[in-house]
């Protein structure tokens, strides 16, 4: 039998059904691994104190009623910006140290209602301010593929938890790249839903106009199963869409890509990109066309402009969202914000301030409109757009130090799709120097089904999902 920590959701359920192991067995196995590897990798900030009691309850439920909830007994790693009742929640910031949420976030509530069990909270860039986990107030997470390297971020702990086999599935969130980039750097699958497809209530805000909760998991199919649970209108988040959701797990029915037109974004093969990385993207395009898709090169706005657009939108919204941290109703005083938090709040305060609002904020929002229109034009002819997730593989620990735009540079291939609110999958597409590379498959708003179907078809016909050897740690 496969190791318990490598199983997918369906494989876990098959194990429960066949009586091969119980939820308690699986949770204990993962807790043992966490005890062994977490001190080296710094993935979990803290564990759910009730997890074994909850596992026992789930075992009784399975015995009595069988598996009649979609994620029953699936152990999750939860990014620390989701409020979880009974588990301290800090967004990896000292300002929230000791904070015990008074209510549950909408998406974690949906996971719990579907039977999921939470192992604990994962490390992230503090308030999601970064793409490395190095801005965490609790130290960086290290990449399970090579601990000299970063896992990416901001959902770096959640992606590393899947790569290291410390959880069956994980919850992340993306403002611009925070699901897809760590998934790529850790060699796992991440999925960013359309803005407004999953509720933001109880997700500690970074940039409210692009924040999107989403899954990081063993496979596209697992991401689809999780999305099926967390997607949908949230009555506590007025920006969620009333559009009906799809049965996303039906993406596994995609046998070929015949009839699909896919655009390979020329500008995303950056001049500075290594040839071996470019080759993996071209190989992926070839694979998609061998599966029946018609793949053509297409052109989008130079990604350098999306860096500017995203920087202004995000910093501005950060300054507004983080104004509520006053140390009065919850949390500590503002002097506990770290340097990166302060930089972002202050720059956003500047871009929103009198005299600069038009020049920066409104200008960025107008260029955003142009980006949206460019995508809309392409989606008239193409089902999906592809490119690398990141300009290269994971960077070394320390790479973000004194780089005030580190995250924006690392996420330059993801910012346009994020400010346009699109949906996108990040799937492993090969390795360079022993580090994983990710392919993004990006579709129009609310075309989750299409993105998942293409990504699933690609994943089923390739062999890039691997497990790092942790024995040498």
């Amino acid at each position: 039998m496969k190791d318990l920590h490598t199983l997918t959701i369906d494989e876990v359920h098959a194990g429960y059904r066949n009586g091969d192991f119980t939820c308690t067995d699986l949770v204990r196995h993962l807790l043992n691994r966490i005890e062994k590897y977490n001190p080296k990798l710094n993935i979990f900030l803290r564990l759910n104190p009730e997890v074994l009691d909850q596992a026992a309850r789930i075992d009784r439920e399975i015995k009595e009623k069988g598996i009649n909830r979609p994620l029953l007994g699936i152990p999750f790693a939860i990014k620390d910006n989701f409020l979880t009742v009974g588990i301290e929640t800090t967004a990896s910031s000292n300002i929230l140290k000791g904070f015990m949420p008074q209510y549950e976030s909408s998406v974690t509530q949906k996971l719990l209602d579907a039977g999921a069990i939470f192992l604990g909270k994962t490390n992230m860039d503090s308030f999601a301010h970064g793409s490395s986990t190095e801005t965490s107030d609790f130290g960086p997470t290290l990449n399970p593929w090579n601990i000299e390297y970063l896992p990416g971020g901001s959902s770096g702990g959640s992606a590393a938890a899947i790569a290291a086999g410390l959880a069956t599935a994980a919850l992340g969130s993306e403002t611009a790249g925070s699901i897809r980039q760590p998934a790529a750097w850790c060699g796992v699958t991440g999925f960013k839903p359309t803005y407004g497809r999953a509720g933001r209530y109880g997700c500690i805000a970074m940039a409210s106009s692009t924040d999107s909760p989403g899954p990081i998991a063993r496979s596209v199919y697992d991401c689809a199963k999780i999305l099926e649970v967390i997607a949908g209108q949230d009555k506590f988040d007025a920006t969620t869409s009333p559009k009906p959701t799809d049965k996303y797990s039906a993406c596994s029915g995609q046998g070929s890509l015949a009839g699909m037109k896919i655009g390979l974004i020329k500008e995303y093969l950056l001049p500075e990109m290594r040839d071996d990385v470019k080759k993996l993207i071209y190989d992926s395009a070839d694979k998609l066309s061998s599966l029946g898709a018609q793949v053509e090169e297409v052109s989008l706005m130079d990604p350098k402009y999306s860096i500017g657009v995203y920087t202004v939108i995000q910093r501005s919204e950060v300054s507004s969202n983080l104004a509520r941290f006053d140390g009065i109703r919850f949390g500590h005083e503002r002097d506990r914000f770290n340097d990166e938090n302060k930089r972002r709040i202050m720059l956003g305060t500047y871009t929103l301030s009198a005299g600069y609002y038009d020049a920066y904020y409104k200008k960025a929002l107008a260029v955003r409109t142009k980006i949206i229109n460019e995508f809309a034009d392409l989606y008239k002819s193409y089902d999906a757009l592809i490119g690398a997730v990141s300009p290269g593989p994971a960077l070394k620990v320390g790479a973000s130090k004194d780089q005030p735009m580190f995250g924006e540079m690392q996420d330059m291939l993801l910012e346009a799709s994020s400010v346009a609110g699109l949906t996108s999958a990040s799937v492993p597409c090969g390795f360079v120097d022993g580090l994983p590379i990710g392919l993004q498959i990006t579709c129009d708003q609310f075309q989750e089904m299409k993105a998942l179907s293409i990504a699933h078809c690609f994943q089923k016909n390739t062999d890039f999902v691997k497990f790092p050897d942790l024995n040498s740690l």
Partner: protein, 107 residues
């Protein structure tokens, strides 16, 4: 189109005040340099003509989403819950810093 505007140390002190953040005197120059660097990247947006292009604030085009004006107990915290994470409470209220009669430096 406006021209590049390097952020000065005075700007940094003013922004910090607006953002209710304290900045150590030794950090001011460094921050001014970093902010100017960031603003330089942002200023590249001026290469793009946005004449008569409207701004997009909300990407899925939802407009004025209302709910019924009734109390939903599912999203209401009890007084005890609401106060549970505050460091300083008094008789069931949050204790806030004094804002009246305090001397504020003019910006």
């Amino acid at each position: 189109m406006h021209k590049a505007h390097p952020i000065t140390s005075d700007d940094v002190r003013k922004i910090a005040k607006l953002a209710n953040l304290s900045v150590l005197p030794g950090e001011v120059d460094k921050l001014a340099g970093q902010f100017s660097e960031t603003v330089d990247v942002v200023n590249e947006l001026n290469e793009i003509d946005t004449t008569s292009v409207p701004e997009t604030y909300q990407v899925t085009n939802l407009v004025n989403v209302f709910r019924d004006d009734v109390v939903d107990p599912a999203r209401v915290l009890s007084q005890q819950q609401a106060l549970s994470q505050a460091k300083n409470t008094h008789n069931g209220f949050f204790v806030v810093p004094r804002v009246i009669d305090s001397v504020e430096d003019a910006l």
